[in-house]
């Protein structure tokens, strides 16, 4: 479809700009979204601890991955330092809530804002460099921040880490996983609506323009520097918010939790979920969280069938995770969200689909 300036699939009957700009493509899509959120609220009390833990993790990492998707998927920049921003948010929120008396629920978004400020600073190189060079520059931010966490005892507690209390609302402490799940769900919904909204705004289109063809964007009057740095700021906000949620969920923050491995996991989440897709971010986070559990089960079955494999169970699990990711990238390079769209299209055209 490369020859069409604005490709539209057949069956897309939108005729006004307002339609084009709607938050949800169709009414049923909106209802489906609302139904999913309500379902999550209703079902949560009946879930096991283990499932709740997985859902909370998906929510937290999904928020952070969403931030990275704005940067990488939407604006076409790259960051190998996302986990450092995630960590900065975690430490900021712990610091604010412990040392200044600001309630945790307010400290969390504040931590997001503090991380935005840091992200804007570390995003400055993006004004000048791009591609692999930018990747290495952001790698530096990972190391600088990680070292800062280990040394700034007044802020992070140094290598001993710092404690982060569970949030409370008028004396009602969110001290169970179920209560915390609702908080994470709230922020997940807010984040996803916010980013979806951003993408249909003037700024959102500018970000996409920077990604698609920066020269054309500049000629059209898009301020490249501003939008590149801005996307770092936006991405850091969500990283910081996710980090703050993570800190108060674990109730403890340690410098060890925010290594480059986590940064790469975030990249894996958005590549697997679908670059530039809002829903893809959370699908990717879910995939990365659930895959090890699935592989654990598979490895256990395999060990039951072939007892000789029992000793290597852990190894098989790790290998299968790697293999699954590689296979996924080969057979579904456009991410889970693409697979989902294909599935939906196939249901729509049901009797005639292949």
């Amino acid at each position: 479809m490369g020859h069409v300036p604005n490709p539209r699939p057949s069956g897309d009957f939108r005729s006004t700009y307002a339609d084009d700009n709607s938050l949800f493509p169709t009414r049923p899509a909106f209802y489906a979204m609302v139904a999913m959120v309500i379902a999550a609220i209703v079902i949560a009390p009946f879930l096991s601890e283990q499932l709740l833990f997985i859902l909370i993790s998906i929510g937290i990492y999904g928020i952070a991955a969403l931030g990275l998707n704005v940067l990488v998927g939407v604006t076409g920049q790259i960051s190998l330092g996302h986990s450092a921003f995630f960590g900065f948010g975690a430490f900021s929120s712990a610091y604010l809530s412990t040392n200044t008396g600001i309630p945790v629920l307010i400290a969390m978004p504040l931590a997001g804002l503090m991380t935005t400020a840091v992200g804007l600073i570390f995003g400055l190189p993006a004004a000048r460099i791009k591609g692999l060079y930018l990747a290495i520059a952001t790698l530096a931010s990972q190391f600088i921040l990680e070292d800062f966490f280990a040394r700034a005892e007044w802020f992070t507690g140094g290598v001993y880490g710092s404690l982060a209390d569970r949030p409370s609302l008028f004396g009602f402490i969110l001290n169970t996983d179920l209560r915390y799940f609702y908080l994470v769900l709230f922020w997940t919904v807010v984040s996803y609506v916010a980013v979806s909204n951003l993408l249909r705004s003037r700024d959102g289109r500018a970000l996409v323009a920077v990604r698609d063809h920066y020269l054309s964007a500049e000629i059209m009057g898009v301020n490249l520097t501003k939008y590149r740095v801005l996307s770092f700021g936006i991405s850091s906000f969500f990283a910081g918010l996710g980090g703050a949620l993570y800190a108060h969920y674990l109730e403890y923050v340690s410098v060890e939790g925010f290594t480059i491995i986590l940064s790469i996991s975030f990249l894996a989440m958005i590549i697997i979920g679908g670059l530039g897709s809002v829903a893809g971010s959370i699908l990717g986070a879910a995939f990365i969280m659930v895959l090890p559990l699935v592989m654990e089960t598979v490895a256990s079955w395999a060990a039951d069938i072939f007892p000789a494999m029992d000793a290597g169970k852990a190894y098989i699990k790790q290998m299968s995770i790697g293999a699954a990711i590689i296979l996924f990238l080969i057979f579904e390079p456009e991410g889970l969200i693409h697979r989902w769209r294909l599935m939906r299209a196939s249901w729509k055209l049901f009797p005639f689909s292949t």
Binding site: E49, A150, R151, V159, Y160, G161, L163, L250, Y252, E256
Partner: protein, 408 residues
Amino acid sequence: MKKLMLGTAIAAGLATAAIGADDKVFVGHLVDYTGPTSFVGKYYGPGVADAVAYINANGGIDGTMIELESIDYAYKVPEAIAAYKKWRGKDMVAMQGWGTGDTEALISFVAKDEVPVWSASYSGHLTDPTGKNPNTKKPAPYNFFYGPSYSDACRALVQWARFDAKENGTKEPKFLHTGDNHPYPNAPKEACGEYAEELGFDVLTPVVVPLKPGDFKAQCLTIKNSGADYVFIGNLGGSVISLLKSCKTVGVDTTYMGNVWAGDYLTIKAAEAQNYVFPSASPFWDSEAEGMKLVKEIAAAAGTGTDEAPTHHYVRAICGTYYMKEAMEWAKANGGITGANIKKGMYERQDWVPEGLEGVCQPSTWTSEDHRGTMTVSINKGSFVDGEVVIEKVADTTLERRDDWLGY
């Protein structure tokens, strides 16, 4: 009639089995078999697990079985916290912990939940239960460990070094701390440096050596240029071996004094170390001490140590587990096995040696104001000679129980 009796017997049997199965307490067990401290973790971890298995096989805690779950957290603090929170949901009455980072991070958690912890971290920060000493960062009411604290062990080494320097005629000996910027090597850094200064050492700026093994020639050059006479090694395992080898290449001439985890026959063998000084709090595997009979029974029952001799870390793990066992027995007789009762049980005895471990575990006393079980440090010197590791004890130092040393 016969049928009825048989039926009753079966029913009774089932009932006892049911009680037997129900009557158990849960203990969480953190181990590092795959992380940076696995070098010693693979001896300490099985020590705890084997001891618990042996206790269960011999009647448990007066009939109550210990349900032990070991989680390999690879020395990652967040994973340890996650494991702890998982266990909290299982009514954990006690915990066998591991590293300094995770144990210190869990201080507030275990105090709030009243879960006594026997850690393999001997950080001095865990010894002040009430926060009596103004130097204490955080009171640690539910933390216990068997053996001298890292700080006290280092102080004993420094004391020995002072004596050694006098004998060698070194006028103003220089002391240097090496170790990663990590809670474990950092734990004794300040406390030990202060005492060294008090004893008239010239205390040099500490050198950071990563906990992960690597090429440490750069650090060794710094050590060489500093002219340190006594180098304290705060790391353990592969990192120590790398450091000793790199320093040999560079030609550093000094006396190395390791932390308790940094000294065992495997480290000395791999590093081919000479005159390597390290503390201990238990006999070594080939010791003839009376209590070693029980230690060897425990190992034999689990099949541990059949191909190679376990390091003394295994023996210390058994001591730590047996103090927990006897505190649980006291708790059971005095109101039931709960975390708070087990903690009280730890204060009941003076110069306490667990039954059957005479000569293995040093007589220890814990009080509600002082969790320094023992102040006695055995100092050993190990050398690799003709393919054999020779370890000899050079001193048994008992430090003064100073108030300003409590909690750090």
